[in-house]
Symmetry: C2
C-alpha cells in the first residue's frame, strides 16, 4: 500500500492520467488521492499550491519528495520501483532509444494539440486570427499523420514489443486526441493502437470518469 | 572511441549542445560529427533528413539506433553507458526526484525563451501584436525568477550536490538566456550557476564556437 504517496488530480487531464497509469503499472495502489475540479478553480487552491507552486495538476508527493511534472513523476516511479510491477524501461538498446525518442516527441504532439484546443483560452480575443487557427490545425494534422506512420507495422507499442514509459506518457495524449472527435478512419494505425490499449488494466481502471460522463467533443471532427 | 556514433549539429543550438555535453560526460569522444549551418539551411539537407525526417538538428545515431530528440539522446547515452564516464543519474531518491522535476520544467523554460526570441520567426507579420510580445516577455521574466529561486541556497547543481542529467539538459538553455543579453545582476543565483559551470570540462570544451565569434545579442537586455 502506497500510503506515503499523495496525488492531487483532475479528471480528463492527460498529465494527471499518465501518473495514475504509472502508479497502476508499478502496482502502487492505495495512495492518498483527491480529485479536484478545474472548472471550480481548485487547481489554484492552497492545498495544491503547497505541493505545486505553479498551481497546476497533477501535484504529486512521495514522502517529502515532490515531483509535479507528470513525465518526471512517471520516470521517478520507474526509477524508485524498478523491480515492482511492470518494468517500464525495456532491456534492448533499440527499444530504449525508440522509447526516449517517442517520449520527447510526445511533447511536440501534446503542444500541437494544445495550440489548437486551447487557442481561445491562451490567446486574447483581440489577438486571434483565422489564419493562425488554420495553420495550427494543419500542423496538428501533419503531426498526427507522422504518429500514424510510426504505428504502421509496429510491434503494438510505441517503442516496440513491450509496453513502456513511452506508452504511459503518450497514450493519454492520443486518447485525448480521439476524445476531441478526430475521425479514427483517417488515422487507422493510431486508432488501432488507441483501441488496443483501452482494455489494458492500468488504463481501463484509470480512464477519466469525466470522459465517460460528459459527451465527446467535436473540435477535431473535421481533422 | 565512439566510432559507431554520428552527430550532425549546429553551433549555438541548445539542443545540439546538450548532446555534445552528454557525450563528453560519458567519455564518448571520437564520434563522427559534422557541423552544419542553419543559415545556409543545411538542417534541411538530404544528409540530415536521412537521420532526422523532421529536418532538425541534432540528428544523432548510434549504430542503427536513431535518437534525434536531444533530451532523449542524453537519457539514452546515460542508459547505455551507465558505468562509463560520469554517472548522470544520482543515487538518492530526493536528488532523483528533483532531477526529473527540473528536466521537464526545463521544457517550460525553453518554450518561454522561444516564445520571446523566435516570435518574429514563428508568427507571420500580419498576426503580430505588441501585447503578445509584452505578455511573452513578462511570462519569461517570471519563469526566470522562478529558476533563480531554485538556485538560491542550492548545493550548486540543479538537482543537488552532483552534476546530473538536469544540468546536461537545462544548462545550455540557461547559457542561451544570458547570451541574449539578460542582466546577470537581476538573476544573481542563476548567474552564479551559469558562471560556475562555464569551466566544467564537458561544457568548456563544447562551448558554441559561434557564440565566441559572433557578438552577443541584446534581445533580453532589459529583462
Amino acid at each position: 500500500m502506497a500510503k506515503d504517496m499523495t496525488l492531487l488530480w483532475g479528471s480528463g487531464s492527460p498529465p494527471c492520467w499518465r501518473v495514475q497509469i504509472a502508479l497502476e503499472e508499478k502496482n502502487l495502489q492505495g495512495y492518498n488521492q483527491k480529485l479536484l475540479s478545474f472548472e471550480k478553480g481548485e487547481h489554484k487552491s492552497k492545498e495544491v499550491l503547497e505541493i505545486n507552486p505553479r498551481g497546476q495538476l497533477p501535484a504529486f508527493k512521495h514522502k517529502n519528495i515532490i515531483v509535479n511534472e507528470s513525465c518526471g513523476a512517471c520516470f521517478y516511479l520507474e526509477n524508485q520501483f524498478k523491480s515492482q510491477g511492470n518494468q517500464l524501461i525495456p532491456e534492448g538498446a533499440a527499444e530504449v532509444g525508440l522509447m526516449y525518442q517517442r517520449i520527447f516527441e510526445g511533447q511536440i504532439l501534446g503542444q500541437k494539440i494544445a495550440d489548437v484546443v486551447r487557442y481561445t483560452k491562451k490567446v486574447p480575443e483581440a489577438e486571434r486570427h483565422d489564419s493562425a487557427v488554420k495553420r495550427n490545425r494543419e500542423a496538428l494534422k501533419q503531426e498526427i499523420q507522422t504518429w500514424d506512420g510510426y504505428l504502421k507495422g509496429s510491434d503494438g507499442y510505441l517503442s516496440g514489443k513491450s509496453f513502456s514509459l513511452a506508452d504511459v506518457i503518450v497514450y493519454p495524449v492520443v486518447a485525448f486526441f480521439f476524445r476531441l472527435g478526430a475521425n479514427e478512419s483517417h488515422y487507422p494505425n493510431l486508432a488501432a493502437y488507441y483501441n488496443k490499449l483501452k482494455v489494458r488494466p492500468s488504463i481501463k481502471k484509470t480512464w477519466p470518469q469525466y470522459w465517460l460522463e460528459a459527451p465527446g467533443q467535436e473540435q477535431l471532427k473535421d481533422l
